[in-house]
């Protein structure tokens, strides 16, 4: 009895306070031989969209932050992780087009930017057309519709919205005039967008006033000062983005005289107010060769890809190997996965002798065996994937604002939406 008690006392003495603290902070993942992170197949599921021959897999992300908590992996994208991991790489930037990579951004937010670029960024476009004379074969409303679609180089941030009750003034309207004639005897002529003249002083058409002719004649706009006097427009006059847009065609003796008022609006109301020609994104493609492609197979692979994603690498001793040279260009046509007949005589399965080749060909035609002629079956040998958090954004602007400004404005608009929600809730 006593010996057992002594033993118990010894055991109690061995566990010190330090050891107790260590036990409390013990994390099984700190042990040297416990694997960290997710097993590779789960990591694949979490971060990649696998594009098979039929349809993509794992396209919807697991956004639940605690999905992999039992493996000790934090799936959350909170502000700290995001700030560390987020990256932007500009690939090309001109005055009208931009291609850039966004890495580490969740799909929902990237799509929100795209939607805002298309539908909720303001721009200026012709809305009201006052037709004085139109003897051309293009109907009034068709002409007005066409004028509305012409992109105008004017920064919408300098203008205000024009609502129903407002008077059109220099702060919310841009006035254009179009007066073209095709004299009798002349050949047919084209009316291009370069013939739209900007009127910085406002409308020149007089309104029919109810009072007598002694009162001041009012025009359709009330400009208190000329738009020319604004510093932004002093040196660069407002005009359409492109001078060669065809508006109408005039035959001899036909004439068009009209005045067009352009106002600010967003793409949601009408697509003419969308400041981008288009904006889209695609996920970064990842092409992986699961098995080695050598010799003739390698050449076949390089030939089959229409976007030239693969390249041949010399390995010495005359051996060739296929490598993935430009995965970014992959358009997921899946030609490399498709079953087909080999166009190059496959050496891999034949005996490698010249006679066997020609014999093999004849045999294949009569017997239809896959091996001798070489039926291509690379479904298990090439893996096409997309990286979930890596987006290649393309923005094509119509000319009113440069694309990087457009993107910054789009992000600001999303911020404003959030702020509006927060202020409504408080």
């Amino acid at each position: 009895m006593e010996s057992v008690e002594e033993e118990e006392e010894e055991v109690r003495r061995i566990v010190t306070d330090e050891e107790k603290l260590e036990a409390k902070n013990f994390n099984i993942f700190d042990l040297p031989d416990v694997p960290k992170g997710l097993p590779p197949h789960l990591e694949l599921q979490r971060t990649r969209v696998v594009c098979e021959v039929g349809a993509p897999l794992h396209a919807t992300g697991t956004i639940y932050s605690g999905a992999y908590i039992s493996s000790g992996v934090d799936n959350s994208v909170n502000l700290e992780n995001f700030s560390e991991d987020f990256k932007v790489d500009v690939i090309s930037l001109t005055e009208t087009d931009m291609v850039f990579d966004m890495i580490g951004i969740p799909q929902g937010i990237a799509n929100a930017f795209r939607r805002i670029l298309l539908a909720e960024l303001p721009s200026m476009a012709i809305e009201k057309v006052f037709v004085v004379n139109n003897t051309s074969i293009i109907q009034d409303e068709v002409l007005a519709h066409r004028l509305g679609l012409i992109p105008i180089v004017a920064d919408p941030r300098l203008f205000e919205y024009l609502s129903e009750n407002d008077q059109p003034n220099e702060r919310n309207t841009i006035v254009f005039k179009l007066h073209v004639k095709c004299p009798k005897g002349d050949p047919r002529r084209k009316v291009l967008s370069s013939e739209l003249k900007w009127l910085p002083n406002g409308s020149e058409l007089l309104k029919e006033s109810a009072g007598g002719s002694t009162t001041n004649p009012k025009t359709h706009t009330s400009f208190s000062r000329s738009q020319d006097s604004f510093p932004e427009f002093a040196d660069n006059p407002i005009m359409p983005s492109f001078e060669d847009i065809l508006i109408a065609k005039l035959g001899p003796g036909q004439e068009i005289e009209l005045e067009a008022h352009a106002v600010k609006g967003i793409g949601k109301t009408h697509a003419k107010w969308s400041p981008v020609a288009t904006a889209w994104y695609r996920m970064f493609p990842e092409v992986i060769l699961l098995k080695e492609f050598e010799g003739k197979h390698a050449e076949e692979l390089v030939k089959v890809c229409p976007r030239k994603v693969f390249d041949i690498e010399e390995m010495g001793q005359g051996r060739k190997r296929a490598t993935v040279a430009r995965p970014r260009d992959c358009s997921l046509c899946r030609e490399c996965l498709r079953e087909g007949d080999e166009t190059i005589e496959g050496e891999a399965n034949s005996k490698g002798k010249a006679e066997a080749k020609s014999e093999g060909k004849a045999e294949a035609k009569s017997e239809g065996k896959a091996e001798a002629k070489g039926k291509r079956d690379w479904v298990d040998q090439v893996a096409l994937r997309r990286v979930k958090n890596h987006f290649i954004f393309t923005i094509e602007s119509t000319g009113s604002q440069p694309p990087d400004v457009l993107f910054t404005e789009a992000v600001k608009i999303l911020e404003d939406k959030c702020e509006r929600v927060i202020s409504e809730l408080s």
């Binding site: 990256k87 500009v90 929600v421 927060i422 809730l425």
Partner: protein, 122 residues
Amino acid sequence: MEHGSFKDNSHATFTLGEEDHTLANAVRFVLNQDPRVTVGAYTIPHPSLEKVNIRVQTTGDPAKEVFKDACQELMQMNRHVRSVFDKAVTEYKAEQERKEKKAAEELKRQRELFGSMDIESN
């Protein structure tokens, strides 16, 4: 507009007017990252009406606070996106200018070289 219950404020549906998938999907993503949230989802009752219903159910915290936190976090993420983007664009433009300058200088040097060669040959 919040539709909830007075007794239990951890479950609520928020109706946002004049919104659509643009904001709702982005907020839904950020909402689901919050560990306090058990249900974070949105639905658009009819596509002709511009209304979005966002459902938030939490593990005890008031739903309004959690939803506000999610919006706040989305705002801060956007600010971060904007700053990183601006930096990247400025760097790219500077790099382009540097390349152009270098190319122009190279061209000038070559012209001078050929010019001097002509004089020598004469």
